[in-house]
Subunit: 123 residues, 4 copies
Amino acid sequence: MYKQRGEKLWYIPDGYIPETSSGDLTSHESICVLNTSSEDALLEITIFFEDRDPMEKIMVVVGARRTKHIRTSSLQQDGMPIPVGVPYAIEVKSDVSVIVQYSRLDSTQAENALMSVMAFPIQ
Amino acid sequence: MYKQRGEKLWYIPDGYIPETSSGDLTSHESICVLNTSSEDALLEITIFFEDRDPMEKIMVVVGARRTKHIRTSSLQQDGMPIPVGVPYAIEVKSDVSVIVQYSRLDSTQAENALMSVMAFPIQ
Amino acid sequence: MYKQRGEKLWYIPDGYIPETSSGDLTSHESICVLNTSSEDALLEITIFFEDRDPMEKIMVVVGARRTKHIRTSSLQQDGMPIPVGVPYAIEVKSDVSVIVQYSRLDSTQAENALMSVMAFPIQ
Amino acid sequence: MYKQRGEKLWYIPDGYIPETSSGDLTSHESICVLNTSSEDALLEITIFFEDRDPMEKIMVVVGARRTKHIRTSSLQQDGMPIPVGVPYAIEVKSDVSVIVQYSRLDSTQAENALMSVMAFPIQ
């Protein structure tokens, strides 16, 4: 049995999916989750906006002893993706403890730019 | 009723608004705040400098269950904005717990560069 | 005798070795470790994947009162390196407390991009 | 009297001063310190290397209610600066609590790249 590591609730205030890409790479964001335990983790993701109610209960599974780098553009609620070009924020709730990092590749200009933060954990 | 998450006092030592932009995008910094609770959050922002007294009591509201990505160039005290091309630091005080991240897009050269950090929380 | 500082277990969910480089610099990632103590630190690194079992027990020594910036492309298990172009995650276990930061230089396009995070510590 | 905020001991494992610059901007790193208190802060900086003994007791003052963005290229011990093109790590000790962030601008290629992390605090 491998131990759970990390926390069950994480936040990322600065989410943003660029509207356009121009280089060889496509602009994207990833929510990178590591599940060190022997049990699968069921994530429940909530997306907060500046001017409308949150998108709730987006479910994702991260297997036991696996990582998953989740493209935010792949997340959907009732077939609706997260809108592009709009500031938002992310809550990740998990039934087992996990570690969460957020990274963005922005290629809206000719060359790519990168940023990454560890998400903020709630104990 | 949704719970407050995070802390009520956050710090970002490395603030800087670039003087010029040269690509399709405008250089900017954002203080990204997430308020998960059922109450509006009233932020009180203080700006510290290297060689002069702080700018105090810049007030911003973040609605209940909303995020706000605040451009630092939009912040004003008595009609005066934060000066450009000058190193500064940021304090964010809130009456309800929030989560704070800071990001900078620098487009002073032809291509953009990105950086982001979670602000430092005080319990 | 100098004190140990930091923690003995650290995680980095977003690992990725780019497949190609195109500028003057070679794309690379580094796991940057600081050992402030008077004793050498023996690190045991585990690499987690999305779709296969972890690579375990990659051993690295960081000398007393020394830092080591470890290129992930130099890590091997039974002569096998970490595969390129594949999302992964990193666990760093140490027998003495250390501080761990992760940085990536991406030069897959003409100009380089940088990202860096402090790894997530487990107490 | 304004309160001290933050911690008295901080670490940054990934220090690096690029050897060359090529754009309009000069490559540089900054240790960004915020002192929220009513007393001046006296910092004692130690630089750790991969293959030699640390440079110790580099002293810097950060005024009361002031920030200071310290260029690492300006730090000296007995007239010797931190060598360029060499991996190193940073310890910042302060007599009053402060908050410490580290940022790097890399302009070794035509366009600049940025990274930033909050330093790791020891309580």
